[in-house]
């Protein structure tokens, strides 16, 4: 099975990603979306700015979003620039990433029909490519995300992308069907040059790949 990867370039492609994400997030977590009104208590979330598409046999099988600015962890996770800079300095990457903006990988979804094949890991790996992360960037960006710890283990850790805890993510009503006390959420930082394996960071997008080479199953 081959997975075709490309960044959504037209309104039609971006909308296809939004509809897939909305259907899954609403069904599983009751989340609603808006461009101009955010309210995590009312379960209304902001849309990402860009989308990565994973296509099998012409069908959108999985997708990932990317905030280019105004990241979720900064807006809602109480993450300050100083929190990020401290971790970057601690990692010895201050020279390279001293003034880098943060971008956020978010809304990673797999169509129900295509689950159980490792597509979540595949699309997440592809979301860590230069092509997706650094689009329209003037300097190499840092990467942040928030997720519950089981997802960090099963996705980020599983594909070999290291992530560094910034701080626990506060509780919001919008996450009540996602997180639990035993499986809390954290805001995390990925320093691309140090934490993303080259096989992902340098992966060519657009491109078509056998699923197993992206961490999925045949």
């Amino acid at each position: 099975m081959k997975l075709s990867l490309r960044i959504a370039a037209t309104r039609a492609e971006a909308l296809r990603c939004q509809y897939l994400i909305a259907q899954i997030y609403n069904e599983e977590y009751e989340v609603l979306f808006s461009d101009d009104r955010y309210d995590l208590t009312a379960k209304i979330e902001p849309w990402p700015h860009r989308y990565l598409m994973g296509i099998i046999d012409g069908e959108l099988a999985c997708a990932s979003g990317l905030y280019l600015r105004d990241t979720y962890v900064e807006r809602f996770g109480d993450v300050r620039e100083g929190d990020v800079r401290a971790l970057v300095a601690e990692a010895g990457a201050g020279d390279r990433y001293g003034a880098s903006p943060c971008r956020e990988i978010t809304k990673v979804v797999v169509h129900k029909r295509w689950r159980g094949r490792g597509l979540g890991r595949a699309i997440l790996a592809a979301a860590h490519t230069v092509a997706f992360l650094e689009q329209q960037a003037t300097a190499p960006p840092l990467v942040v995300f928030c997720a519950k710890l089981s997802i960090v283990r099963n996705l980020w850790d599983a594909i070999g992308v290291r992530s560094r805890t910034i701080k626990p993510f506060p509780f919001y009503k919008v996450h009540e069907l996602y997180r639990t006390d035993a499986d809390p959420m954290e805001s995390r930082l990925v320093i691309p040059a140090l934490d993303i394996p080259p096989r992902w960071y340098d992966l060519a997008v657009p491109g078509e790949y056998p699923l197993e080479t992206l961490g999925g199953r045949r």
């Binding site: 909308l15 939004q18 509809y19 909305a22 259907q23 609403n26 069904e27 009751e30 609603l32 979306f33 808006s34 461009d35 101009d36 009104r37 208590t41 209304i44 509780f171 009503k173 009540e176 069907l177």
Partner: protein
């Protein structure tokens, strides 16, 4: 199973109406852009407000009422790709806003429980209790909007749950206001 109705549902012939609008929509479109609920309510409210002397006041009241029913229809549709509809019918004396959507057995059961309590409870007390629920993880606080329509707008609320094929139910929610209530604010 037969229909269950809570409160009173109006069934007035539309051909005698002095203004009637209906919009059919796919709930998923509103999940993708939640502001579409408000825009739909604003449009229908403004369109219907021409029937009233205090047009701005009427538009604001109608928009609030319609928005609540549209949002409910979207949130409680089980299959977000199945069409729902909202209508506004004015016969001169009263104005009826109605939303219809399909839902699953779980949501229908929750609606029955809510509607049974809603029918007889003190709306102020029930409202406060529901608001308190919003702070507790995993507890549903649905129905707050209908309580606001009842306690703050004196709307007459009717709810019908009608079992249909496949274990699903068609849910009809009506909010009825007199013409005086529409212009009262």
């Amino acid at each position: 199973m037969s229909d269950t109705t809570y409160g009173t549902l109006l069934d007035r012939p539309r051909d005698e109406a002095l203004g009637a609008f209906e919009i059919r929509f796919v709930p998923l479109d509103f999940v993708v852009h939640w502001r579409r609920c408000g825009l739909t309510a604003d449009y229908l409210g403004a369109a219907m407000a021409y029937a009233f002397e205090r047009r701005e006041a009427a538009a604001a009241v109608l928009s609030t009422v319609i928005n609540e029913l549209v949002e409910n229809a979207v949130k409680f549709s089980d299959d977000k790709r199945t069409e729902a509809r909202v209508s506004v019918v004015h016969d001169g004396d009263v104005l009826c806003v109605e939303a219809v959507n399909l839902t699953d057995a779980k949501r229908a059961g929750e609606l029955h429980a809510f509607a049974r309590e809603f029918e007889h409870a003190d709306p102020e007390a029930m409202f406060l209790e529901r608001v308190a629920r919003t702070t507790r993880p995993g507890e549903s606080a649905s129905g707050i909007g209908l309580l606001v329509l009842k306690k703050d707008y004196d709307a007459t609320i009717g709810i019908r749950v009608r079992p249909v094929e496949g274990g699903r139910s068609e849910v009809t929610v009506q909010a009825v206001l007199t013409s005086e209530q529409v212009e009262a604010r």
